[in-house]
């Protein structure tokens, strides 16, 4: 027994590590299995999107926004398009608004499915990942039909959407809704959500109290997991979200404390049901008409001024602050990437003295970060 060493050890996790969800590095000070302290290092994917945006036109920025939160590109495109529209003082055509809502919600489901699948893998359950990808594939197929792309769509443009939606695709979306809800979500719940091992790995782990969540600027499912019902789709409606009926799920400490990993996970599962509800309503109401203002595809020249526009991304509030000097290129673009704020809480969560190395993996997974957006 004398030979067992008990001193602290510095452990480097990442930048290439399957559980860090991207190129993310954490330096962990451990005492045996316990984590004493962590230090997050980001920036490995930094390509200074904001500088690039100053050198291209408003229309050319759209593909760059795809590559920030690359599992939820539609909402990134939407945030950019609406921010520019706000500067221009215009609104997209009615039909485009409906299409935007549908693709944004489908993309939200696809993104939550990825979060669901990879979170299971982080905890040690590999099977749910395959189920999640089986269904995510169906959404990607719809998007492929719609705009030829599976991941980086560049679909939502300033003044509308790039391709009109056909009746065939609308039928596909309807089929997907009927397939997915409620059967598949029930299947996920049976498979993972209420699994005893899963609950004991995630309940009471990484608890983010309400005040801490707000203080760190957490938004999206992470904030709602802590019991704060804040959702821009309801609170500051954009697009046409105010026409639809849906609820905002929030964590309530069902399996442990409010704001633990299980709550954050479950908010995502419940949001998928709500997204399907929105898509179904949009399918019923979609009008005919223009899908795109073609003039705006060649030249966008907003008047001098600035705008800050936020939309509810799959990971939280995605904001664009654009300063225009009246030319064809933005003078300054600043992005609020939700993952950037969400991951900043990690160091605080691991400082509790009760966090084990495996818990830290559970916490990172529950925050659902995309490094493309953290580093921009």
């Amino acid at each position: 027994m004398r030979d067992i060493r008990t001193e602290e050890m510095l452990l480097n996790m990442g930048p290439q590590h399957p559980s860090t969800h991207g190129v993310f590095r954490v330096v962990i000070r451990t005492d045996g299995e316990m984590v004493l302290e962590t230090e997050s290092h980001i920036g490995y994917l930094h390509r200074c999107f904001e500088k690039v945006a100053e050198n291209v036109s408003y229309v050319q920025v759209v593909p760059y926004t795809d590559r920030m939160d690359y599992v939820c590109s539609m909402i990134n495109n939407l945030g950019w398009a609406e921010a520019v529209e706000k500067l221009l003082g215009i609104e997209a055509p009615e039909r485009a608004q409906y299409i935007r809502v549908m693709v944004a919600e489908l993309n939200r489901i696809a993104s939550h499915l990825l979060a669901f699948g990879t979170y299971g893998m982080d905890i040690g359950a590999v099977t749910p990942f395959l189920y999640a990808f089986r269904d995510r594939e169906k959404i990607l197929k719809i998007f492929e039909k719609l705009c030829g792309q599976r991941l980086n769509y560049t679909y939502v443009r300033v003044g509308g959407v790039s391709f009109d939606i056909t009746d065939e695709i609308l039928k596909d979306i309807e089929d997907f809704c009927n397939y997915f809800e409620p059967d598949i979500i029930d299947e996920y719940n049976r498979l993972l959500s209420y699994n005893g091992i899963f609950i004991s790995r995630t309940a009471n782990v990484g608890v983010i109290p309400r005040q801490m969540a707000i203080g760190y600027g957490l938004t999206g499912p992470n904030l709602r997991g802590s019991g704060v019902r804040r959702d821009l789709r309801k609170d500051e409606p954009y697009c046409i979200y105010d026409r639809f009926q849906f609820e905002i799920p929030a964590g309530s400490g069902e399996q442990g404390q409010t704001g633990d990993c299980w709550d954050r996970y479950m908010v995502r599962i419940r949001e998928m049901t709500q997204s399907i509800m929105i898509v179904r309503q949009a399918l019923k109401g979609i009008p005919s008409g223009l899908h795109l203002d073609k003039k705006l595809q060649l030249k966008v020249k907003p008047p001098k001024g600035e705008a800050y526009h936020k939309v509810e991304g799959a990971r939280g509030e995605l904001g664009f602050h654009i300063v225009s000097d009246g030319s064809e290129k933005p003078y300054r673009v600043k992005t609020r990437g939700p993952s950037f704020c969400n991951i900043s809480v990690l160091d605080e969560l691991t400082r509790t003295g009760k966090c084990m190395v495996a818990d830290m993996v559970a916490i990172i997974g529950s925050l659902d970060i995309v490094m493309g957006e953290v580093d921009r």
């Binding site: 980001i42 920036g43 930094h46 200074c48 904001e50 500088k51 529209e85 706000k86 500067l87 221009l88 003082g89 215009i90 609104e91 997209a92 055509p93 009615e94 039909r95 608004q97 003044g159 801490m212 707000i214 203080g215 760190y216 600027g217 704060v228 804040r230 500051e236 409606p237 954009y238 046409i240 979200y241 105010d242 009008p287 005919s288 008409g289 223009l290 203002d293 003039k295 705006l296 020249k301 008047p303 001024g305 600035e306 705008a307 800050y308 526009h309 936020k310 904001g319 602050h321 003078y331 300054r332 600043k334 609020r336 950037f340 704020c341 900043s344 809480v345 605080e348 580093d375 921009r376």
Partner: protein, 198 residues
Amino acid sequence: MAEAEKSGAAGAAAGKAAAPKGPGALSRRIAKGKADAAKLFPILKEKFGAAILEEQPQVVEPFVVIDPEILVEFAAFCRDDARLQFDLLSLISTVDYPPKDAERGTIQVIYFLDSTAHRHRLMFKVKLPRDNPRVPSVENLWRAADWHEREAFDLMGVIFEGHHNLVRILCAEDWEGHALRKDYVIPETYHGIKNVIY
């Protein structure tokens, strides 16, 4: 502007089929921002008087410009006053204006606040001299400011006084210069890696 009018007409033509009534969501958001400004700016003006250097309640994104001297006091008031309760710091943005610009060599640091209780928002700016941009840190008021300030330091070179760990966050620690400055020159090489500029 002419383009905006034209496209507005096109939008109206398309709308005939669906017959939307009233202003769209974006104009309602802009109106909400102006209403917030009309409600909040008098409170701020009453409290801080001449330290509020400029107010713009009627632009797309209403804002006030404050004296950097009162920043921490102002921020604390915004967070703690019962009428304001700005508990969520959404973003800290920075804009660089070179000397020949109309803003005459200033760096603006722009704070965006949200209130989860009152659901209103506020944007305020401080204007700093470009050759020595220093401003007090607000990380003790909002933890979110920690990383936002580090990013502003990294990419724009703004010094946040009193920040506990003001080091680069996105660029490598030995990176030189601040990339978002308008006069930044892209280095030709980095540790022998050639920089290809297309």
